[in-house]
């Protein structure tokens, strides 16, 4: 018991240190290298004057905050879905929920731009949430019919493909001026996040994570199985609804601002489980949030710097790290 507590404390410390290091790296590394002194000045001046300060304050800081918050939200959303489906490879991207959100956001964007308006953060999240719920509804219908978990994942991937195809189609027929923007967004990227966005992102992701944390008790009961959870006094219907809504809101928020980001929702919780050697929600939810944040910061750093000045889409970087983890998990499951 004591050993386990020590492990948790140690893992959290490690995670925090990693996160801080990545935050600092993300601030200073880029097309312009920013030293520690300059960084301090820039942060103090809040980007008031020099170019360097402006780069840090208006470009890098919001971007890295968004990457951290959204990465955390994705990981928590993935963990909620994994609990719900009792399947370690469930996640918003794998189940096609991100793609559903992407489709509705694309439709909304095109409609709004056609009317000559730029939609606000709330509208983006709202549209993404509708798409998430649609895709989720379909997945739930499928899961009521088939108990086979691999089949569920295959269905999710198919939903993802269909949504992507429709999105591509819509983007193709959009106005030329919007195509570039839409295309960048639909590939997934943290670029172009503004301070006003960060504020909304922080509210939604932190509130969503906090609410998920409050669900950690029924979640731990649910991990044993439905029958046992019900016997322990969990109101199953309400609990399931809460789980679905929270995971959808979290992943919708990500898709609305950064497009679909692959595999973070599966890879980060898995890495955290291995690091903490527990699946207890009360530990896993904060751990997933921190882990997802660190994971996305690292991936965003690589996406920005690897082939600078060309920027990679964030999804292609997360896939390179995340997909092998998923494959390894599938193989391990098969073996067990």
């Amino acid at each position: 018991m004591e050993g386990r507590k020590r492990r948790c404390a140690w893992a959290f410390a490690l995670l925090l240190a990693l996160l801080l290091a990545l935050l600092a790296a993300n601030l200073s590394i880029g097309s312009v290298r920013v030293g520690a002194d300059e960084l301090r000045d820039a942060l103090r001046a809040r980007g008031a004057v020099e170019t360097l300060g402006r780069v840090v304050w208006t470009l890098r800081l919001p971007r890295l905050l968004a990457a951290a918050l959204l990465g955390g939200a994705l990981a928590v959303s993935g963990f909620l879905l994994q609990t719900f489906f009792a399947n370690p490879i469930a996640g918003p991207f794998v189940l096609g929920i991100s793609s559903g959100a992407k489709l509705t956001v694309a439709l909304m964007l095109i409609a709004a731009l056609a009317c000559g308006r730029t939609p606000g953060s709330a509208a983006m999240i709202g549209a993404a949430f509708c798409g998430s719920m649609l895709a989720m509804g379909f997945i739930l219908l499928v899961s009521a019919r088939v108990r086979n978990l691999s089949l569920l994942v295959v269905c999710g991937v198919m939903v993802g493909y269909i949504c992507n195809a429709v999105t591509e189609l819509v983007v193709t027929f959009a106005d030329d001026a919007n195509i570039v923007n839409l295309h960048n967004w639909s590939m997934g990227s943290f670029s172009g996040v503004r301070w006003s966005n960060v504020r909304v992102i922080a509210w939604v992701t932190l509130a969503g994570t906090a609410l998920s944390f409050l669900l950690s008790k029924p979640m731990s009961a649910y991990q044993l199985g439905e029958g046992y959870a019900q016997n322990m006094g969990v109101n199953l219907r309400r609990f399931r609804l809460e789980l679905i809504l929270l995971s959808s809101v979290l992943s919708a928020c990500v898709t609305a601002f950064a497009g679909p980001i692959s595999f973070v929702g599966v890879a980060a919780p898995h890495l955290m489980k291995s690091l903490f050697r527990t699946a207890k929600p009360i530990v896993m939810i904060p751990a997933c949030f921190l882990g997802g944040a660190a994971f996305c910061l690292l991936c965003d750093l690589l996406a920005r710097t690897l082939f600078a000045p060309t920027e990679l889409s964030i999804s292609s970087v997360t896939a390179v790290f995340g997909a092998p983890i998923v494959i390894w998990m599938l193989l391990k499951r098969k073996a067990a």
């Binding site: 370690p88 008790k217 991990q223 044993l224 029958g227 046992y228 322990m232």
Partner: protein
Amino acid sequence: MDDIILHTKDLAVGYGGQAVLRDVTFSVRRGEIMTLIGPNGAGKSTILKTLARQLSPVAGCVYLGGEDLAPMHGNALARQLAIVTTERPRAELMTCADVVATGRYPYTGRLGVLSPADRDAVADVMALVHVTELSGRDFSRVSDGQRQRVMLARAVCQEPDVLLLDEPTSFLDVRYRVDFLTTLRALAREKRIAVVMSLHELDCAERISDTVLCVRAGAVDRVGRPEEVFTGDYIEALYGMEPGSYRAFFGGAGDRRFFQNRACESFPCHGGVDEADFNCLFCFCPLYALGERCGGSFHYTEKGVKSCVDCAFPHRRENYERVLARWPELSALAKGKDHGV
């Protein structure tokens, strides 16, 4: 009468408003064990699910401690009623102690953090069910028998008045089965828990139950003490078998309660003794292992099996209790022999 903790009234159970079983009426007292027997698909699990409120009754009521089950608050119910289901718990990265600790769920606060008192309760129950040595083991890596014990400990940790178990011994070999049921009986008596369970092993049901409830073809067929239920050809009738076929396989006749093992390679090893005289301990003679010192006369067959001629404990039914009463002494003797004393 106030000892009755669980009873039903005109209960009909089933799925989606369609009754599978009607007129399920029974009552269970604290410290008693009621066993549900009957063919597959007769509705034993449906009754258990209804009692656990996983299904709502099609008609009638279930009363827990005299109170209607239906409007009870989830947490209040959890403190009075615990289950062990056939569901294989998917406990990822959980030790056996973690799994047992989930039984404290109804007693913990908003975030489910265990208090020192909860931890003590977990340790106590684990000792009681003899799983203390499994505490730190990964739950997904223990054997079926150990897993069932851990799940029993988890349920007891909930400090219930009523314990429901759905076929708890199905995957267990005979040793674990006897182990499990012995522990269960001791728990029921000691903690005054009413136990309702379904069993497929009729011999076990006969020995462990205070009440047996027989379920057949849409109705409860019989409720009563084991000796009232296991009579004549009733078992064959209950399971829709040819009359006499159960006994033809397992042996015994009339109202005999114990079965001969006709499948044994040495059957009948008690050559020359009237069959009616040794129906019970036929293959489990407690003196058998004592060899020379059992006190009776015997010879060894060609297969090297001890064949009793004049038994020191004639295996009559009425002697069974006497043998069991002397069992600790006899088994100590047998162990002494093993160690060459």
